[in-house]
């Protein structure tokens, strides 16, 4: 049914394309937000991606590849947003209160801060690979198609990304440990 929608949209059916936006919009937005870490830029990137998709859809020859193609447009829109806004602004979010009922794996305020800073230091290309694999669950081969790099490069970016984020948490943990010792 989805390929039928794509085909209809390709032929100019605006309703069909709107349904594709409904089907894919949430996921695209979730991915864009996690790459860009900014609500407004993520909205811009998603809007840009879908408008480009509408414009370019007549040239998509294999409707089965719509999703990979759409993700590619989305990632490139994220890259463009990242380039336009190279200076990162502080993103303030209301965090849930932590208490005894908080799940063990929830990040503390300090851990969140450390992860945000470490994530910002990653290039947009690294962030895209990381988000698409660990949040969107795309297989590496699909990610390689989306971002247009060899599979080995995807693996390398993933490895570097997780390593940097882990290191950020380890640094944070060591700092806390030191504080405990000196308390």
């Amino acid at each position: 049914m989805r390929t039928e929608l794509v085909e209809r949209a390709r032929q100019g059916d605006e309703d069909a394309f709107t349904q594709l936006v409904d089907l894919n919009g949430d996921r695209c937005y979730a991915i864009a937000y996690r790459i860009l870490r900014d609500v407004d830029r993520a909205k811009d990137a998603v809007q840009q991606a879908f408008l480009l998709a509408w414009r370019e859809l007549p040239r998509l020859r294999d409707v089965e590849r719509f999703q990979v193609w759409l993700y590619r447009l989305l990632v490139n829109a994220c890259y463009e947003e990242a380039r336009r806004h190279k200076r990162w602004t502080t993103h303030v979010r209301i965090l849930p209160m932590e208490g005894p009922s908080a799940p063990d794996q929830m990040a503390s305020v300090e851990e969140r801060d450390a992860l945000e800073r470490a994530f910002r230091r990653l290039s947009p290309e690294h962030r895209a690979v990381f988000v698409m694999h660990h949040h969107a669950g795309l297989p590496l081969a699909a990610i390689a198609e989306v971002v247009g790099v060899p599979l080995g490069t995807v693996k390398s970016r993933l490895h570097n990304s997780i390593r940097n984020l882990r290191a950020a948490l380890e640094s944070e943990a060591e700092g806390t440990l030191v504080e405990v010792r000196t308390a």
């Binding site: 390709r10 100019g12 605006e14 394309f17 936006v21 919009g25 937005y29 979730a30 937000y33 996690r34 609500v39 993520a42 909205k43 811009d44 998603v46 809007q47 840009q48 879908f50 408008l51 509408w54 370019e56 859809l57 007549p58 040239r59 590619r72 447009l73 490139n76 829109a77 890259y79 380039r83 336009r84 190279k86 799940p103 063990d104 794996q105 929830m106 990040a107 503390s108 969140r112 992860l115 290039s123 660990h134 949040h135 081969a141 699909a142 390689a144 198609e145 247009g148 790099v149 060899p150 599979l151 080995g152 490069t153 693996k155 390398s156 490895h159 984020l165 882990r166 948490l169 806390t176």
Partner: protein, 421 residues
């Protein structure tokens, strides 16, 4: 706090925390936007749309509603520059009937930018990444600009709805021309070092592309490369490399950050290259350039030519070609995660495209099929005191484009220098 928690689980929870639903106003903007976007026609290669077709490229709904810009896309192989010149000290010429209009915001942006460049200060505030703009206030010989002008570049539909402008700055008989991009409402100009990868050089001086300096291996190796070479960010890929923009007019812009259907021709720098072995070596290579050349030459599957003594960067080098038939099984060293080692000299011709890839990994070795691309190798014994023992410069291209790639690499190679502490 349990500081021994699973870091990966914490990272996963952090990553999953965030918005999941596309806001309704964005959905609405898309729904409205698609009614104003002119679609491509199937079968007509972008950007060669029909002459006179108006296209409207809203980047955001607010822009779509506010912008009065209408772009006329010319059906042509070459660029058409229409005289709509404005600027500081420039000559005004009548505009032809079919021209696009530049928004007042962008006009003011460009005028301010040119004024500042002629004044010799303050231009940075007009550009998103000013440090990437070469010759900001003076020519390569240091001559300050006397006047400037700009004109909108028509004839090619740029990615992401951006408008391209050719900026010219004059210093005596010298003209520096650069390509800048702007959205309909600015707010800043964009300079793309690769000019979006088309046949238009992003910066020229008296018509010649201006070379940009690059440093690699902690500036132990420097070189200069001009359009049509595009260098990647050194931190993004294991080995520094640059891509060669295909020749010929009407080369499509790369809207996806670098991919082309038929791939890129490349020039790579590989420190301490390795031909075989398992796992990734640490530290300088154990073999010199001559031994590496001999090892390459002795493998019949590699189709290597006899090494020829040349000079690169003032150092003695061995030049040879490697022509592995497409589909030949080759092996390159890899790490435990399956990443090809950055020293693997055959990795540029190992088929890695996701759809066709059949790479297997075992015991520190990745085995797969060769792409069939040819390689020109320059194997150099690095000067004493270098962090590397050998440096390989590898030019990769299909046979049909190999000669062009090798010739285009000549000025890059001639500019290479070693800087040993």
């Amino acid at each position: 706090m349990n500081i021994l928690r699973d870091h990966d689980a914490v990272i996963g929870a952090w990553l999953d925390d965030g918005p999941e639903s596309l806001p309704s106003e964005t959905r609405q903007a898309i729904t409205v936007g698609i009614r104003t976007v002119t679609r491509r026609r199937a079968g007509i290669a972008w950007p060669f749309a029909g002459r006179g077709l108006p296209t409207f490229e809203p980047r955001r709904l607010s822009v779509a509603l506010a912008s009065a810009a209408v772009f006329v896309v010319a059906a042509a192989v070459a660029l058409n520059f229409y005289a709509n010149q404005q600027g500081i000290g420039g000559r005004s010429t009548p505009s032809p009937s079919a021209t696009a209009t530049t928004s007042p915001v962008v006009t003011a942006l460009l005028n301010g930018f040119l004024e500042a460049r002629v004044a010799g200060e303050g231009a940075q505030q007009y550009v998103s990444v000013p440090q990437e703009v070469p010759l900001l206030y003076a020519t390569t010989s240091g001559a300050r600009y006397e006047r400037g002008e700009f004109e909108q570049v028509l004839g090619i539909d740029w990615p992401y709805g951006l408008t391209a402008f050719k900026v010219r700055l004059f210093a005596g008989n010298t003209v520096v021309a650069q390509l800048f991009f702007a959205g309909p409402d600015g707010p800043l100009l964009s300079y793309e070092r690769d000019g979006f990868g088309t046949d238009i050089a992003p910066t020229t001086e008296n018509g010649q592309p201006v070379a940009v300096s690059y440093g690699f291996f902690v500036d132990e190796v420097t070189l200069r490369a001009a359009h049509p070479w595009i260098f990647s960010a050194p931190t993004t890929y294991p080995n520094p490399f640059c891509r060669l923009i295909p020749e010929g007019p009407g080369v499509l812009p790369t809207t996806d950050g670098g991919q082309r259907r038929d791939g890129w021709d490349r020039l790579l720098l590989i420190a301490d290259p390795a031909l075989g072995g398992a796992g990734c070596q640490q530290g300088p290579s154990s073999v010199d350039a001559a031994a590496l050349a001999e090892a390459i030459r002795s493998d019949p599957d590699l189709g290597a030519t006899a090494p020829v003594a040349v000079s690169v960067g003032g150092a003695a080098a061995l030049m040879m070609d490697v022509r592995i038939a497409a589909g030949t099984t080759i092996s390159v060293p890899a790490d435990d995660l399956g990443n090809l080692c950055r020293t693997a000299i055959l990795s540029p011709v190992l088929e890695q495209e996701a759809v066709r890839s059949s790479i297997s990994y075992a015991n520190g070795v990745a085995t797969g099929k060769a792409t069939g691309d040819w390689m020109r190798l320059y194997l150099i014994d690095a000067p004493a005191g270098s962090s590397m023992r050998t440096l390989a410069i590898v030019i990769v291209a299909p046979e049909a484009r190999f000669q062009r790639a090798v010739e285009a690499a000549t000025p890059v190679l001639e500019s290479l220098e070693f800087h040993v502490p």
